[in-house]
């Protein structure tokens, strides 16, 4: 019962990590995941202190208070710059 967490672009490079798996029973919201990731170490804490980061659940943009459940794919990334 896990949640797949993926990272993109500058965020992925800063973390030097593109994907991580976390236990679904330890988190209830996107904000919980962020907090959990920030507690890994000082570097991750610093990276996740960036208030501009965006998040998505199962390919839909969401805000931090959105709930997550097992088998969800949660993504974190910087503001988009396509086009």
């Amino acid at each position: 019962m896990t949640i797949k967490v993926v990272f993109f672009a500058a965020l992925r490079e800063q973390l030097d990590c593109s994907e991580i798996s976390i236990a679904a029973n330890e988190v209830q919201t996107v904000a919980d995941i962020k907090t959990k990731l920030a507690h890994k170490n000082e570097h991750w804490q610093q990276v996740f202190s960036n208030g501009a980061l965006l998040s998505a659940i199962n390919h839909d943009m969401v805000t931090s208070d959105n709930r997550v459940k097992a088998d969800d794919e949660v993504a974190f990334f910087p503001p988009v710059t396509g086009g």
């Binding site: 672009a9 390919h59 993504a75 990334f77 710059t81």
Partner: protein
């Protein structure tokens, strides 16, 4: 692949270049009701924020990209009377002058085609998960999102 009325939307994320005339012909194939076609094409510029740029690297979030573009197009279809829509976005390595993005919209009324094409571009800029890394004289650098793009998208709400 010809577009039929049931598949009036084409979304393509691709490495390779596209040809405007081919895309417009596809939008107008077996579509003699829509006399107006508006297109937007974005190209790699040679300067950004004062730095000389030699090229771009484009990353995206496969799966979410397509879903977000579909949602944007559905919003445009609700707002305006439009026929077919094509959105092409290139990913990977691109050099100066290369085509990055294409939006094409057909309609019976040119006003609707203009508005919908601009709307789709404005929302693509702030909602579709693409990221550009610029290759400049000072090395690689991820582009910062522009506040002007957020404002531009918000304008459609007023």
């Amino acid at each position: 692949m010809p577009l039929t009325h049931s598949t009036a939307v084409k979304i393509s994320i691709q490495n390779q270049d596209f040809n405007l005339q081919d895309e417009v012909n596809l939008l107008e194939q077996d579509n003699a009701v829509d006399g107006a076609v508006v297109t937007f094409t974005g190209r790699v510029r040679n300067k950004n924020a004062g730095l000389t740029v030699s090229g771009l690297y484009l990353e995206h979030y496969a799966g979410m990209t397509e879903k977000s573009l579909e949602k944007i197009i559905i919003q445009a279809q609700k707002r305006w009377q439009i026929g077919r829509v094509a959105v092409i976005h290139r990913i990977g390595q691109l050099v100066i002058g290369e085509q990055i993005v294409f939006v094409g919209v057909t309609s019976m009324h040119r006003q609707d085609a203009f508005a919908a094409a601009e709307f789709i571009m404005d929302y693509l800029k702030v909602q579709a998960p693409f990221w550009k890394k610029e290759l400049t004289e000072q090395g690689e650098k991820w582009l910062e999102a522009k506040q002007s793009d957020s404002k531009q998208a918000q304008q459609w709400d007023s």
